[in-house]
């Protein structure tokens, strides 16, 4: 049984189609990246999974059962826009959200305290939310999300506003939860986090799926046609290269996507050696960042061409 099965999901607002025939599956105990540019339909998709919105057509199965209001307690949802009652104390806040998910008052409070301790925040129990920093309220929000031990967690940009130390702490917590069998859907624009955490991904744009699969598989589909070079000297020679795409360049480092044959690689090496001291040259898999950009751009360009009738 899958943790989540999405079948031919469709939702429109007026003439705007937010999700169009979206289907994918999420395996139990995996961390699943839900990726896509702004306005791709991710939030609508998440709201349908969490039963906040009702799809026009299609099916959503959570642990084999259709989502419904009684299934909501099996999901922990951390929305992108955090919401807490400013004038409430931290522990009251956690208690209320826990109770809404069906916990008893006592259970909600004792679990809340344990989580505050786990996230190094036991001193905040009686602070009001308005006294908390952004990172602190982020942690409170996270606790409210996981308090009722949901088998499915949906985390939308869970690391925004966290410093590197706290982000690392949160990553460890998410990994721990995964090890206890929790399935995590992670929606973020930070591709490094996806590379670090996710087992599988789905990329959607304009309400449709562009690609899906395990991170390994998606990357290997693109082959090793990206080179990384590091050098000492001016990077002016990069501008003389033809027929390649420079994905990123910074002082002494460049990531280049080859468009075809291996001879291009030789030409690049020669140019680099002529003008600089070459330190490193390596064929790598493209980063998810690169895959994201090229796929989304390709679809957008294709649609524009289609509109002009040139295809």
């Amino acid at each position: 049984m899958k943790a989540l099965e999405i079948k031919h999901l469709r939702k429109h607002y007026g003439s705007f189609v937010a999700t169009d025939d979206v289907s994918f599956e999420v395996d139990k105990g995996r961390i699943f990246g839900l990726l896509g540019p702004n306005g791709a339909g991710k939030t609508t998709l998440i709201r349908m999974i969490t039963n906040i919105l009702i799809p026009d057509s299609g099916e959503i199965l959570l642990l084999g059962e259709n989502v419904s209001s009684s299934q909501q307690s099996k999901i922990g949802y951390l929305p992108e826009e955090r919401g807490l009652y400013k004038r409430l104390k931290v522990i009251e806040q956690i208690r209320y959200f826990g109770e809404l998910k069906g916990l008893s008052t006592r259970e909600a409070i004792s679990r809340g305290r344990a989580w505050l301790k786990r996230l190094n925040a036991e001193d905040w129990e009686n602070k009001k939310v308005q006294e908390l920093s952004k990172g602190m309220s982020q942690k409170v929000q996270f606790i409210a999300t996981v308090l009722h031990h949901p088998p499915l967690l949906i985390l939308d940009e869970p690391f925004s506003g966290l410093d590197p130390v706290n982000a690392e702490l949160m990553i460890n917590v998410i990994r721990e939860l995964q090890q206890t069998g929790v399935t995590v859907i992670l929606s973020t624009h930070v591709m490094e986090q996806v590379e670090k955490l996710c087992d599988d991904i789905v990329l959607i744009n304009k309400g449709r799926i562009l690609l899906s699969g395990s991170v390994r598989e998606v990357k290997s589909r693109y082959g090793r046609d990206t080179v990384v070079l590091e050098f000492d000297g001016s990077d002016a020679f990069l501008d003389e290269l033809s027929d390649v795409r420079i994905l990123s360049r910074s002082a002494g480092r460049a990531e280049i996507r080859l468009s075809g044959d291996k001879d291009q690689a030789n030409a690049i090496i020669q140019k680099a050696m002529q003008h600089t001291q070459l330190i490193r040259f390596e064929f790598v898999e493209p980063s998810l960042h690169e895959i994201f950009i090229s796929e989304v751009n390709a679809q957008n360009a294709g649609e524009k061409g289609g509109d002009n009738g040139s295809h």
Binding site: I52, Q72, P79, G83, Y85, L88, Y96, F97, L100, K101
Partner: protein, 427 residues
């Protein structure tokens, strides 16, 4: 509907509000404020009367000057000074005013009060009453009426009303009950406004803080809205009970104080001009029947749920505080309209206008309680208006729930009434 979740929401809304400082302050200060509103004018009237104003009476023919001075020697004194010197006395504020009585008082000649202006309405009224009473008395006297006849004319007339009902003939407290009806209607109006506004702001706060998305992932929008309205309503009921209790305590303590003050004041003016004033009507506090109280609670609850759900829908359509000002107009209008007619309905609670207006569901909570207190409303009207009100109330809650469900997740712009209508019918 998941009643456990509604219960959790009600409890949360109720407890966080009851525990807040704002609740404590409002609950304590409102009766104090009311008391101040009632007591301060009374005390201030007394204080202004303390600073007695003197009025010179220039009455060369001595028609009324002796009578005026006899009745209120603190205010009036007789004078033969010239008009010019009286003028200068007014200007340098030695006296407040002077009255010039014409040669004849039995015709249309005018008695005139001269003052520096701005003596206060009470002062003018007092002088006018005293002068008129004195002139009337003098006219009677001039026509040969003797003093005993004159005092017979001024004697108090005893008059009362009684009500004939199934229980026989009993004391009619219709006048007092009309006042009670007005107070009850006004209370329902105020509470629908105040607590409806609380619901409205709470919905918008949850929407703008994005809390509602988390709650919506735990409960149905309809449950959220209902829980919120019921929680605030419970807070309102507690507040009302506390207010009534506090007011009763305060009147127990304040009433003797007031009575003493008024008593002292009455003695001070005992030999004042009271000829033209009738005694205070015998205003006994009527016993309010349980029936009125039951209907009051019913109209409060149904009216509150009706309007609070409409307010919630408005707040769901708003994107920020200012949006609500314009969006709530169609709700505040039907709230205010009954208040414009409440006077007519009290003076004629069985008239066609009263019957028709009180049957309109949006007006029923305020107007029907007024009529129930003031008159014997036929059963068919009570049953009919209740059926209409309950139907409207259920319809409003349903419609508001539909609008709320879509509105709370719509960000970025204020919804139009057209948008809300579309939300109503969106699947």
């Amino acid at each position: 509907m998941d009643l456990t979740k509604v219960g959790v929401i009600i409890r949360h809304e109720f407890l966080t509000r009851i525990r807040s400082k704002a609740f404590l302050i409002a609950t304590l200060l409102a009766p104090v404020g009311m008391l101040v509103l009632i007591v301060v004018p009374i005390i201030s009237t007394m204080l202004t009367e303390e600073t007695a104003k003197t009025v010179a009476v220039r009455d060369p023919q001595h028609h009324i000057d002796q009578l005026l001075v006899k009745n209120d020697s603190a205010m009036f004194f007789s004078t033969m000074l010239s008009v010019d010197s009286l003028k200068s006395l007014v200007k340098n504020k030695t006296i407040a005013a002077y009255v010039v009585v014409p040669e004849r008082v039995d015709g249309s000649d005018t008695t005139t009060l001269y003052s520096s202006g701005g003596g206060g309405l009470m002062f003018y009224g007092k002088v006018e009453d005293a002068v008129k009473a004195a002139v009337r008395r003098q006219r009677l006297y001039d026509r040969g009426a003797d003093t005993s006849m004159i005092s017979v004319l001024n004697q108090e007339v005893s008059y009362t009303t009684k009500k004939v009902s199934d229980k026989g003939v009993e004391k009619d407290s219709g006048e007092a009950l009309a006042v009670v009806g007005y107070i009850l209607g006004f209370m329902i109006y105020m509470m629908m406004f105040i607590y409806g506004g609380v619901v409205m702001r709470a919905v918008l706060e949850e929407k703008t803080n994005r809390i509602v998305e988390i709650i919506a992932s735990s409960a149905k929008p309809f449950e959220i809205m209902l829980g919120k309205i019921a929680g605030v309503g419970a807070m309102g009921l507690v507040q009302i009970v506390l207010w009534i209790g506090l007011s009763m305590m305060m009147t127990t303590f304040a009433a003797p104080l007031l009575r003493d003050l008024m008593h002292a004041n009455a003695q001070a003016t005992a030999h004042g001009v009271q000829a033209a004033q009738g005694g205070m009507p015998d205003f006994a506090i009527p016993s309010i029947s349980p029936w009125i109280i039951i209907m009051f609670v019913f109209y409060f609850l149904s009216g509150y749920f009706l309007y609070a759900s409409l307010f919630a829908a408005v707040a769901a359509g708003a994107d920020q505080e200012q949006d609500m000002q314009s969006l709530q107009l169609p709700i505040t209008l039907p709230l205010i309209i009954p208040m414009l007619f409440i006077g007519n309905i009290i003076s004629n609670p069985d008239g066609t206008m009263a019957v028709v207006l009180s049957m309109i569901p949006l007006f029923t909570p305020v107007l029907m309680i007024v009529r129930i207190a003031a008159t014997q409303v036929p059963l068919w009207q009570i049953v009919g208006s209740t059926v209409l009100l309950v139907a409207t109330f259920l319809g409003a809650v349903w419609a508001a729930g539909r609008i709320y469900r879509v509105g709370i997740l719509s960000y970025g712009k204020k919804a139009s009434y057209g948008d809300m209508l579309r939300w109503l019918f969106r699947a």
